[in-house]
């Protein structure tokens, strides 16, 4: 690279190509949306501009002879435990641009991952385990306010008026991802999968494209501080409404969709002009207290004739338990708590990596507080933020969650390799981009199948895990922290999670 700024010319990956195995098919050239690979006709060779590579592995997975390896740039700064590679590069970048560093996806810093410090109990001798292949196993989950007591008439019919519920075939939902941050094809994939699985997807704050209204029964429509795409029709189109107060990846700030991503369909759905930045205010300007939140909750209930549960989504922050208690008392039917490993389409890196708390401790704290106050039944609790597999989910439910939201994992099922370039709108896997050439990389027919496969696989694993605990219904695991033990945690951490040390 001749015309470059050497002060900023540090890059993370090198595209290694075994040229003896290269058949010049140019798959790597067309697939790289960052312009890192090109064909030189004069020499009949494929070259790479390593500094453009973001490590998304689109090219290496498509190469028909497997001759590409994406490797970490061996170019090394002197080892320094204080100044890590990313600290150094970020500093140079900012000295060059004077700007805030924006990134995508969730917090990638090595904070303690509490899922990895919890183990699950199993039956031995004194209590029998259950074989889910031979005996029925119930994963059906109801989200919404539950009554204090049930009254029945002589015939055994329930006479208590029940609050509206969301009925999930398995305790997993697709978390909020807005149309615009992800393209239409991804929205359709998630919607199709939800319908097939009997679960819910969440529109995020970008409104619901008209063509997806047919998936309304499996849709949670979001109402965020920017009110993008909110209309009476929209509010009534979904099965539930979620008020977005905060997001785990960037607590305290609003969503931001750069104008370049606001194309025709997005502009129509969001009800803003093409090309304008869609910047949600940091707070809802009509919510400065729990009382204000209550007004919005009831306004939305009125607007939907009290037929739909109202969820309130908050980022997991220090005081999450008290806030959740307020939200429950404000009349929410569901509280979604999004931990700091939750993903985003764009966030300042400083915020993504340093603000908020892990969902593990947040869920434990909220469940505990709501129980102490005797209002746990009044609200369902949904955990979000960084679920990687079925065992994370089992543990979240044992800690007190009713269900979980997944988004990063869902995008991974569709191809995402966590390259953290979502904010650039050039996603090589065709997910967080609205570019027509890139968007068609997600074929909803295929993507929906992969999402359904993932949720089926996880649901089967959850059944296996319930079975070995001798439990035949997910309902019986909720908040059953006695089935968890901590390994390698301090006493204070065990206390925060409300679990015992292994061996005790």
């Amino acid at each position: 690279m001749l015309y470059k700024n050497p002060y900023n010319h540090y890059f993370d990956y090198v595209v290694q190509r075994d040229i003896d195995k290269c058949i010049r098919c140019k798959a790597c050239v067309t697939q790289c949306s960052y312009g890192a690979n090109y064909y030189d006709a004069d020499r009949d060779l494929i070259y790479s501009l390593d500094h453009n590579c973001v490590g998304c592995m689109r090219c290496s997975t498509f190469c028909p002879t497997d001759c590409i390896s994406i490797v970490r740039n061996p170019d090394a700064f002197r080892l320094n435990a204080n100044w890590k590679d990313h600290n150094i590069k970020d500093l140079y970048k900012q000295a060059g641009t004077g700007g805030i560093i924006i990134t995508g996806m969730g917090n990638d810093k090595p904070f303690t991952n509490y899922w990895e410090h919890m183990v699950v109990d199993a039956c031995q001798v004194t209590n029998p385990s259950i074989d889910p292949l031979r005996e029925p196993m119930e994963l059906k989950t109801f989200l919404g306010r539950k009554p204090d007591k049930l009254e029945m008439n002589k015939n055994g019919d329930i006479t208590t008026k029940l609050a509206p519920q969301l009925i999930l075939e398995t305790p997993i939902m697709f978390s909020a991802m807005s149309y615009g941050s992800i393209n239409y094809n991804v929205c359709e994939s998630v919607a199709r999968a939800s319908k097939e699985l009997g679960i819910f997807w969440n529109t995020g704050e970008g409104g619901l494209p008209k063509a997806l209204y047919g998936y309304g029964k499996n849709t949670i429509v979001q109402c965020a501080s920017g009110r993008f795409g909110v209309s009476p029709e929209y509010l009534n189109a979904g099965a539930a409404i979620e008020i977005k107060i905060g997001q785990g990846a960037k607590p305290g700030i609003g969503g931001h969709l750069p104008g370049e991503k606001v194309l025709e369909g997005i502009s129509e759905t969001r009800m803003i002009p093409v090309g304008t930045d869609a910047i949600s205010p940091a707070p809802h300007h009509d919510i400065y207290s729990i009382e204000d939140l209550k007004q919005l909750i009831y306004a939305l209930k009125e607007a939907t004739r009290y037929e739909k549960p109202i969820s309130v989504k908050i980022a997991a922050v220090h005081n999450v338990a008290a806030i959740a208690s307020g939200i429950a008392r404000a009349g929410a039917d569901i509280i979604a708590v999004d931990g700091f490993r939750g993903g985003t389409g764009a966030a300042p890196k400083a915020i993504r990596d340093n603000v908020g708390i892990p969902t593990e401790v947040a869920i434990a704290a909220v469940d505990e507080r709501l129980r102490q106050e005797g209002i746990r039944n009044e609200v369902s609790l949904v955990a979000a933020g960084g679920f990687r597999n079925s065992s994370d989910i089992i543990k979240a439910i044992a800690l007190g969650a009713d269900a979980v939201y997944i988004a990063t994992s869902a995008l991974m099922a569709v191809g995402c390799t966590l390259c953290q370039q979502c904010h650039r709108g050039r996603c090589a896997w065709g997910i967080t981009t609205n570019d027509p050439e890139l968007s068609k990389r997600v074929n909803p027919e295929l993507a929906a199948e992969r999402l359904v496969n993932l949720i089926h696989a996880w649901s089967n694993e959850i059944k296996e895990m319930l079975g070995l605990m001798g439990i035949n219904s997910i309902e019986s695991l909720k908040g059953n922290r006695d089935r968890l033990r901590g390994v390698g945690l301090s006493e204070v951490e065990l206390q925060a999670l409300g679990i015992k040390q292994a061996g005790i």
Binding site: K21, I23, R24, C25, K26, A27, T30, Q31, F62, P64, T65, G430, D435, P436, E437, K440, R441, N443, E445, L446
Partner: protein
């Protein structure tokens, strides 16, 4: 009869269909050896047209009323009455390119067959991979942009 249909809205221009087609019609059936060692090197019978943001892989439609068969004067191109497929017998082909002019889909290309004194140009087109149940291009396509269907 089943033929390959492109669904251009899902084509990602990866060219893997071309690679698979060449490999399937090679002696070694190995992409690397096909490319490095086989001479003449096979050419793809489907072509990926790439005009960003559009791309589409096109190959012979095995037309009901095949213009190429009409145009071919020496019986190189014929319909197999059993399978319905339009077959091309390269041993017969004289390289007059009437079929290329006649085909409304641009599905026929020129191929240099043999080497040295044996070298001669003949027509080349999709044969729907007679040795395979599902054609190579359909199997390889990572985004279901090619389907093997009977659309009547």
């Amino acid at each position: 009869m089943k033929v390959v249909y492109p669904r251009e809205q899902w084509c990602v221009a990866c060219n893997l269909c071309e690679v698979a087609c060449m490999t399937e019609h090679s002696k070694t059936k190995d992409p690397l050896k096909m490319y490095l060692m086989e001479r003449p090197r096979p050419i793809p019978r489907t072509r990926v047209e790439y005009r960003p943001p559009l791309s589409i892989s096109t190959m012979c439609r095995h037309c009901e009323e095949a213009e190429c068969v009409e145009a071919c004067k020496n019986g190189t191109l014929t319909r197999n009455e059993k399978t319905g497929r339009i077959e091309l017998d390269q041993d017969k082909c004289l390289g007059c390119w009437m079929c290329i002019m006649a085909c409304p889909y641009g599905a026929i290309s020129q191929f240099t067959k043999g080497i040295g004194t044996e070298e001669r140009a003949v027509a080349n087109k999709c044969d729907l991979c007679p040795d395979r149940e599902v054609p190579a291009c359909v199997t390889v396509c990572p985004n279901r942009a090619l389907v093997f269907e009977d659309r009547g």
